[in-house]
Symmetry: C2
Subunit: 168 residues, 2 copies
């Protein structure tokens, strides 16, 4: 695997300094590089539709909610702040994929719905995205996948443990 350039530079230096556990550093950088590569690949897939990952997530959530959703519900489900949702919705509205409608029972609130165009793009993109993501681990056997999932879980567990133990 080719590590992202910054990780190559850092790793090269870690080796030069003969830091302990260079292999652990390398493993970390492998994980991060792979994640970056996946993100980059995903972005390339979404860009022709004028979508970013953030916009894609909102599109997906809205497609699943026939009655529309309020921005704060979108924020909750997407795991970002309301402020961020405003910007993402601005982009989607600019592309005529969504429309903002007033809420009848709460003058502060909005309902966000997909336009017809939005629904069409959604259908197209989800199909494409689904096929792409299904192929990501396509060269791993079922046992290998299980193995990978278990190992990732184990690392995440360690991360959670060290994080909660941090005296901050």
């Amino acid at each position: 695997m080719e590590l992202a350039q910054k990780y190559q530079a850092l790793l090269h230096e870690a080796q030069r300094r003969q830091l302990p556990d260079v292999a652990g550093i390398r493993l970390c950088f492998q994980t991060l590089s792979l994640a970056s590569a996946i993100d980059r690949d995903c972005a390339a897939l979404l860009a022709p539709h004028s979508l970013s990952e953030g916009r894609f997530v909102l599109l997906f959530l809205l497609d699943a909610a026939s009655e529309g959703l309020a921005p704060n519900a979108l924020a909750e489900q997407a795991g970002v702040t309301r402020a961020t949702v405003t910007g993402l919705l601005d982009g989607l509205e600019r592309e005529a994929l969504i429309e903002r409608q007033a809420d009848a029972s709460d003058r502060r609130a909005l309902h966000i719905r997909l336009t017809l165009k939005g629904k069409q793009v959604a259908k197209q993109v989800f199909d494409q995205h689904g096929r792409w993501i299904a192929g990501l681990f396509g060269n791993l056997s079922a046992p290998e996948r299980q193995q990978l999932a278990t190992l990732l879980d184990k690392v995440a567990l360690n991360l959670d443990a060290t994080q909660s133990g941090r005296p901050e």
Copy 2:
């Protein structure tokens, strides 16, 4: 492992729709979630020193170059654009960790060096960072680490293959 909120929402919906290969989707989200968690953990470690990951990388590279480095060299090694380096250096300069000096032989160019404060912070942070990163995979056995590395490499290989095969 607890997936990032947006992935939980997407996965929930993928399950609801009975998409094929939900396990593959889940595996992808596990990888991305772990990477995000590592990034977040790293950011928490660096923040008390007024450093972000980007700044840390530059600090590290500069610490390794006793004669200083030019911004374009930093950009190359860090794998970002010169424009991005300018912003990062601005931040580091603001914190008095670096100084910009004119290059005697090329009026367009600069030399970037660590200040004394910069060297001290660097020493402290690298020590801390090294211990942190060494502990990341601390709960994996040596064979498990090897396994994880191999699996990550394999996925990355697949990603590279599908990417170069893309007719763009």
